[in-house]
């Protein structure tokens, strides 16, 4: 299987395009199809945008990305930062039911909503020693 690939960039918005290129290349190497590759790109973009906007709002630090291919057709992504942690259970779930109207749509929580929609697994771990770690898995769609 493919080797583990790593990318470390400063937690700044201007590195989002570089991050997108890195995960797109890794997704293709894992044998994911075009739709899957797009889903991974967007989920990682949302995750890293949240890290930059929230975790590193008042701190500076790096974002470490690691991509594994445990088997062809599956990509595991680990994203780590050392910024402010958060409680995923307290992030509001956007209210998007049909007919709710424009005013009912909340702006918060959209990023996390997309990550969960786009990926097969999304899991967070927060520890004082290792920082904030996000695990995501994408499997090739049939």
């Amino acid at each position: 299987m493919g080797a583990t690939q790593r990318l470390t960039v400063p937690g700044k918005f201007e590195h989002l395009a570089q991050i997108a290129e890195f995960v797109t290349t890794a997704s293709r190497a894992a044998g994911l199809n075009d739709d899957d590759v797009f889903h991974v790109e967007m989920a990682v973009d949302e995750a890293c945008s949240n890290i930059i906007e929230h975790a590193y709002a008042e701190l500076t630090g790096d974002i470490d990305l690691t991509c594994y291919v445990p088997e062809m057709g599956r990509l595991d992504i680990v994203i780590r930062d050392h910024g402010q942690s958060f409680n995923p259970d307290e992030v509001p779930v956007p209210r998007l039911q049909e007919g709710a109207g424009l005013d009912a749509v909340q702006e918060g929580g959209l990023g996390l909503y997309f990550m969960r929609k786009l990926m097969d697994e999304v899991r967070f771990e927060f520890s004082p020693e290792n920082g904030n770690t996000l695990y995501m898995v994408k499997r090739k769609q049939a």
Partner: protein, 117 residues
């Protein structure tokens, strides 16, 4: 990011960003939309034909701009979504929230019709 702007009529303006709409580029688009809204140009066609990608930061900007345009008696109507952008819209229910058209001319004509409830 390059953002094309033109008047489609005396009241309707087309704004057409090009490239990726992510957390980096969205502020530039919001600034352009803000200029129009501040000048009471509230009938806006946002042409996404040249937009390859849109993240939730772009969606939030659309929501904010549209609320403001509607408060001023206008609207933000969209056209030219590529299949990827449309998929994102569908995932979050925006296809029923926004008026979507294939081409800018159709979107502009939407201002002559009543806003759906």
């Amino acid at each position: 990011m390059n953002i094309v702007q033109e008047a489609l009529s005396s009241e309707v303006y087309r704004v057409a960003p090009e490239g990726r709409l992510d957390a980096v580029t969205v502020p530039a688009l919001e600034a352009v939309l803000r200029e129009h809204l501040d000048a009471k140009r509230v009938k806006l066609v946002l042409d996404l034909a040249q937009v390859s990608y849109m993240s939730s930061s772009g969606l939030r900007a659309l929501l904010r701009s549209r609320r403001e345009a509607q408060a001023g008696g206008g609207d933000v109507v969209l056209c030219g979504l590529n299949p990827r952008v449309r998929e994102v819209f569908e995932m979050i229910g925006f296809t029923s929230l926004f008026r979507l058209y294939d081409r800018a001319a159709e979107a502009a004509a939407a201002f002559d019709k009543p806003v759906p409830a």
